[in-house]
Amino acid sequence: MKEILWLGRGGQGAFTAAKLFGAAYISDAQSQYALAFPSFGPERRGAPVRAFTKLDTKPVLDRSQTEQADYIVILDDTLYSPELQNLLKPDGRIIINSKAPIPDTFTFDGEAVAKEFRLPTVNTVMLGIVSALSGYITEAQASAAISGYMPEKIQARNIGAVRLAREAVQQ
């Protein structure tokens, strides 16, 4: 099973990204299963939130919070602390939306891409980054999930943001 832990602040769409990633993974393969859930509780703008995506080739039975992630994706770099390395599998990676490099992590300036597509948040940009780095989902699957589960008027811009983010990684 592959597990992605998403960290963001209320309003940044961390759970939306977690959900889209799961929806993308199951989008065209009957033999692929996913689970996605947020850290449960009242929704508060700006408060730290966690979200979880679990991917497997059999139904996902484990609904508990991820303790060892393949990827930790952080939408706001002020949420990073070195202790998060303890939540990674041995070959796991931390991906951070940040303008400045941070030791032992992969950083990417998601805001620059979000701005280009007039998006108020970097969630789908970072989804594009982790999709390219992990290879868990294709660009077509990510686009299918956005088309299936996001409001129509923001679909094209989010699909564009995913594409640009993936291209940035591939370069």
Binding site: L35, L61, G148
Partner: protein, 399 residues
């Protein structure tokens, strides 16, 4: 059939859409709210042709459903936690009147301390209310139960309301892969509700009457036998369901690797999946573990539990409930089943997940280890000190 990525609440709402209730009356409460929102959206956009009645409380929500059912309508409501407790008075009117209402309950902790997160203390407190109680493990089962529950409730041998329980958040708010059946399949499986137990001006009769000491006990006896008849109807319903939808369920309980198991963990609801995963890991290390997931708490699967546990050396019950001053109610029920069957093996109660506390794979591993080595009679997960658990510390199943 379409394959979607849905939350437990959304999946359940899809099942209710396919069941085409005539009347929906509900009051929103976390973590059930999304079911009510989705159904009201479906009524608004015309994809569900139900009368959606906005009510001012849960007491009214169920009263309204009772009235609708008494008029011969298929009636649905949904609630959670304090909402269920607030409608408790009406639960008995619905079951006593033999009105086959279906209710979805999002299992949530009860106050005080106030808490919106999942545990099963709300529904388990209502085991004696005369409702069939079933607990879903995942979103697909929730959707499927939304269809099957009507057929069980409305069967003339049963005529008893059904409460379908979904663990709050862990199931209601978790997104997963769900197959949504076609309406034609649902129509084939679930015909429209037809009943004589209704207000009929052409054939006037007394409904929801009083009954004194001379006859009252007969009605209670009939409610009991009607509930017991549900055991057979559940099996028939699941067979019919499998024929149309291709998914076979396992009756009142779901046994996993119990045939040769030496230690068995009995549980219910969405935690069962992780228990099965831990069982597989233990088996890989030569430990003969097994899991029983109770699906129906009422009618209670006494014989099935005895059959599943009869060759085990010890068992545990993991539940999100505590009956203060005694033990978890599920544990009490399981012990009763074993006592009646003459099975005397050590059993231990594990109280976990209260107020939404996460239950980890590691903790389930520790539970199996405790079943194997002996534990307190009652053990609170996360509170290790035996003195604090109130357990007797000597490994006896019944203190």
């Amino acid at each position: 059939m379409s394959r979607k990525f849905l939350s437990g609440n959304e999946a359940f709402a899809e099942g209710i859409r396919l069941a085409k209730p005539d009347v929906i009356s509900a009051y929103p409460i976390t973590p059930q709210t999304i079911v009510v929102e989705r159904l009201s959206e479906m009524v608004e956009d015309g994809s569900l042709k139900s009368d959606f009645i906005h009510v001012e409380s849960e007491h009214s929500a169920l009263s309204c459903a009772i009235g609708a059912s008494a008029a011969g309508a298929r009636a649905f409501t949904a609630t959670s936690s304090q909402g269920l407790l607030y409608m408790a008075e009406c639960l008995y009117y619905a079951s006593g009147g033999r009105f086959p209402i279906v209710m979805m309950n999002a299992d949530r902790s009860t106050a005080l301390p106030w808490n919106i997160y999942g545990d099963q203390r709300d529904s388990l407190s209502q085991l004696d209310s005369g409702w069939i109680q079933v607990y879903a493990e995942n979103a697909q089962e929730a959707l499927d139960l939304a269809l099957m529950s009507w057929r069980i409730a409305e069967d003339k041998r049963v005529s008893t309301p059904v409460m379908v329980n979904l663990d709050g958040f862990v199931l209601t708010h978790t997104y997963e892969t769900v197959e949504i059946p076609e309406q034609a399949q649902a129509d084939k499986f679930l015909p429209p509700y037809v009943t004589d137990n209704r207000i009929d001006f052409a054939n006037p009769k007394n409904l929801a009457f009083s009954a004194g000491p001379d006859t009252n006990y007969i009605f209670k006896y009939k409610a009991h036998t009607g509930m017991l008849a549900a055991k057979e109807v559940v099996a028939e319903t699941e067979t019919a369901f499998a024929e149309i939808f291709g998914r076979q369920y396992s009756g009142l309980l779901d046994s996993y690797r119990t045939e040769d198991a030496e230690i068995i963990l009995v549980t219910l609801g969405s935690i069962a999946g992780l228990c099965r995963e831990v069982t597989d890991r233990l088996r890989a290390h030569g430990i003969k573990a097994g899991v029983v997931r109770i699906r129906y708490m009422r009618p209670f699967p006494n014989e099935e539990i005895a059959a599943a546990l009869k060759n085990a050396k010890a068992f545990g019950v993991l539940e999100k409930d505590i009956s203060f001053g005694n033990e978890g109610t599920v544990f009490t029920n399981v012990n009763s089943a074993l006592q009646k069957a003459g099975i005397h093996i050590p059993g231990y109660n594990f109280i976990g997940g209260l107020g939404g506390r996460n239950i980890s794979a590691g903790e389930i591993g520790e539970i199996f280890a405790a079943i194997q080595s002996g534990a307190n009679s009652v053990n609170f997960l996360g509170i290790d000190d035996a003195e604090k658990t109130g357990g007797d510390g000597n490994g006896k199943s019944n203190s």
